[in-house]
Amino acid sequence: MFTYYTRKYCIVALSLFLLVSCAQEGVKLRFSKPAEIGITGVKRVAVANFEIEEIRRVTHLERNGEWKRHSAEIPNALKTAIAKQIRGKVINLLSSSPSFEIVYSDEVAQLADDEAIRNMVASAGFKAQKIDAFINGKVWINVDNYDGVDLAKLALTYVLENGEGSPAYTADALLYWPYKSIKGTLALEIKMTRAHPTEVLAVAFEKRSFGNKIGGQPPNILEQIKAAADEVKDLVSEKEDDGALEESALVLPNFTQVISDTAESIAAKFSKKIAISEKEVSINIASGGDLTSVQLIQAGAFNSAIHKLNQVAEKNNPSDKYNLGLCYEAIGDYGLASVAYEEALTAENGNLTFAEGVGRIERLKREYRQVRIQLSSKN
């Protein structure tokens, strides 16, 4: 058991070492990623209600192998709140995408189901100006809370006296390890329907399982590695300090919070399906060129770096040409980026970094064509 801690901190130290030693000089760029489904002619989208089809919450208590179940009553007010919460998460995601303009309409928010949307479209009865498409959905929630006991072995060591190699023995003990856990599934169907002609444009049905456990038997080796990896991830990730609200790993998350987080992850997947999203890519900077420009690129000052690199263009340094391409790529001018990368590769054929630039831009140009088509439907 003692080795659990030494092993855990060894894994943390090793992961940090690998992260630091493998780090390359580079810059992180954000690119637009086209929607998975090309939807044309849809600019203004309104989000209707999310119906709660089923919601079930059961608590289970176990002592000495005997289980007792208790089903909790979910008040209507809470059901409405959950439906609103899921609708809100979908709106949060879509409103930050350049693909659509969200029509915030109270009358649409009150459309209870598919039939209500169909009736409204058929009668052209909505007051909100021109709505091209509606988004609505259905939700199924099952949550089980457990209060039980694991029975597991623990090896307890007794080291007799000081010094290396002193006599020791290990005695096994079978212990009861009380735990509390929450497990469940959330199924969410999200649908986008065009108003005229009425047709379903996209449907996503996703079922997610979630679970969290506190207490219980000691972690096995895989859980120890996962815990150590999470610790490293927390250590190196840069989070904005927003009041740093305490959240203990030894407290089960709240029911509403679990539903909210799970619904958000499903909605994010749907959003990627129908709307342009962004992705972050780490790209190497070429060394051996103008140092001032490299300074600016590292600081994310791409326009200023372009200005500097154009000033030193007569030197015909392939690294400068590559870095110029990188700056154009960063500001979304893929045509000029392509020219600069090609020139760099021609000047120094076989340079892997330059070749990566050419390859990346070819793929981006293909994707960007789709992005442009999708954006043109908005304008």
Binding site: F2, E161, A171, Y176, L235, S248, Q257
Partner: protein, 398 residues
């Protein structure tokens, strides 16, 4: 991590840079709100608190009003029904929505492994564990060693002391303890709607915040099995072969079973853990309100973000002094009045402007000053300023 790297960078290049700590720079709202809107009503009657089980509504409204007023984007932020304006001439906005909150207080029992060490390392290690965590310290019966669940700090402390005094003897124990868990949850669904000749909803946001804390009851810790138990018989057998394995029935520790007659008594021990102190509750509620409203406020008003950044102290000394005192407006006026500006002055001026920029043009000025400073002296700090300003100019144009 970023802060650590920045501090290291500043330390090694601080010939001319003074670390300013955190500077609050301004950023524009995420959504372009009609500039004609200068008055906002927070319609408390239309902010539903039907599911606000722990009463956050008043605090949310107060925080929203205060923060929007501080942003200086709106001339007036009024709590109440929209009235007293001419809808044919004026454009105002109203905020409404609902608040959902809840909390849980759960008690329970855990079993854990703990280590008990002898020597000075053991005593100091237990002391460090008691101070650095809320756990209880127990004592092993065989050799009266102090027992604790080790963490990174205790392990490092003990290893350092063992280098001096040599390895310590060690027992291991299984122990049980009672705990009390607190969790709070808050969610807001808020909308801001433009009123006037045209009525339209401008922004809708749903955001949530949660808080949780685990309180182990330090007084409730009990050792239920120790490695020293039966040591006399086991040590007696150590020289003999074969060693007979202990029957499974004997190794079951019923005292750790909350369902057994032996362990059951423990069910009736009410954890004597303190509740969260009142003054801390107020602070937690305030932090939760701030977190839950952060994205809504950033969507409709300019906002401040903290930035780890340096001031160039080779600039005008008076301006540097004012900036270290966070008097950026005064420093800005002073630098603007200088007949000749060094690159350091231009950089400091750009930083002052960045703390109060509220229009696209302000960010154009910030960028121009950072660029002039960098052209005069290509310093990494100036480059970072250009990067920040360029990013703002780019995102504002989109």
């Amino acid at each position: 991590m970023k802060k650590i790297l920045y501090t290291i960078f500043t330390f090694f290049s601080m010939t001319s840079i003074v670390f300013a700590g955190t500077v609050e720079v301004q950023r524009l709202s995420k959504f372009k709100i009609n500039p004609k809107i200068s008055k906002v009503f927070i319609h408390s009657d239309l902010i539903s608190n039907e599911n606000d089980k722990i009463g956050f509504k008043d605090q949310i409204i107060k925080y929203l009003q205060q923060t929007l007023q501080e942003s200086k984007r709106y001339a007036e932020v009024v709590v109440g029904e929209p009235k007293g304006y001419d809808p044919n001439k004026e454009v105002v906005a109203v905020i409404q929505g609902d608040i959902i909150s809840g909390g849980e207080k759960v008690t329970g029992q855990f079993t854990e492994w703990a280590v008990c060490k002898g020597g000075i390392a053991g005593v100091v290690g237990a002391g460090v564990a008691g101070v650095s965590s809320e756990q209880g310290i127990t004592m092993s019966h065989g050799r009266n060693f102090l027992c604790k669940l080790p963490n990174f700090i205790t392990m490092a402390t003990e290893m350092a002391l063992e280098l001096v005094e040599g390895p310590s003897p060690r027992d291991e124990v299984a122990r049980i303890y009672k705990y009390k868990n607190y969790s709070l949850y808050l969610q807001t669904n808020l909308t801001i709607t433009q009123l006037g000749t045209e009525r339209k909803t401008l922004v809708i946001r749903t955001d949530s915040a949660s808080f949780s804390r685990h309180y182990p009851d330090a007084k409730s810790y009990r050792n239920v099995r120790e490695s020293s138990q039966g040591q006399s018989s086991i040590l007696g057998l150590m020289g003999l072969t074969p060693v007979v394995p202990m029957p499974a029935e004997l190794s079951i520790v019923e005292a750790s079973n909350p369902g057994s007659n032996i362990g059951k008594y423990y069910d009736y021990v009410v954890p004597g853990v303190k509740d969260i102190p009142e003054e801390e509750v107020a602070q937690i509620r305030e932090s939760m309100s701030a977190k839950v409203l952060k994205n809504f406020i950033r969507s409709i008003a300019p906002y401040k973000i903290p930035l780890e950044v340096g001031i160039d102290e080779t600039g005008n000394p008076e301006a540097v002094k004012l900036m270290t005192e966070k008097k950026y407006d005064e420093a800005k006026v002073l630098i603007e009045g200088l007949p000749e500006k060094l690159p350091a002055d231009l950089y400091n001026l750009a930083l002052c402007l960045e703390t109060s920029a509220i229009t696209n043009k302000d960010f154009d000025d910030v960028l121009a000053y950072y660029t002039q400073a960098f052209d005069g002296k290509p310093d990494n700090l100036y480059a970072l300023g250009i990067g920040r300003a360029e990013q703002q100019v780019r995102s504002n144009k989109q």
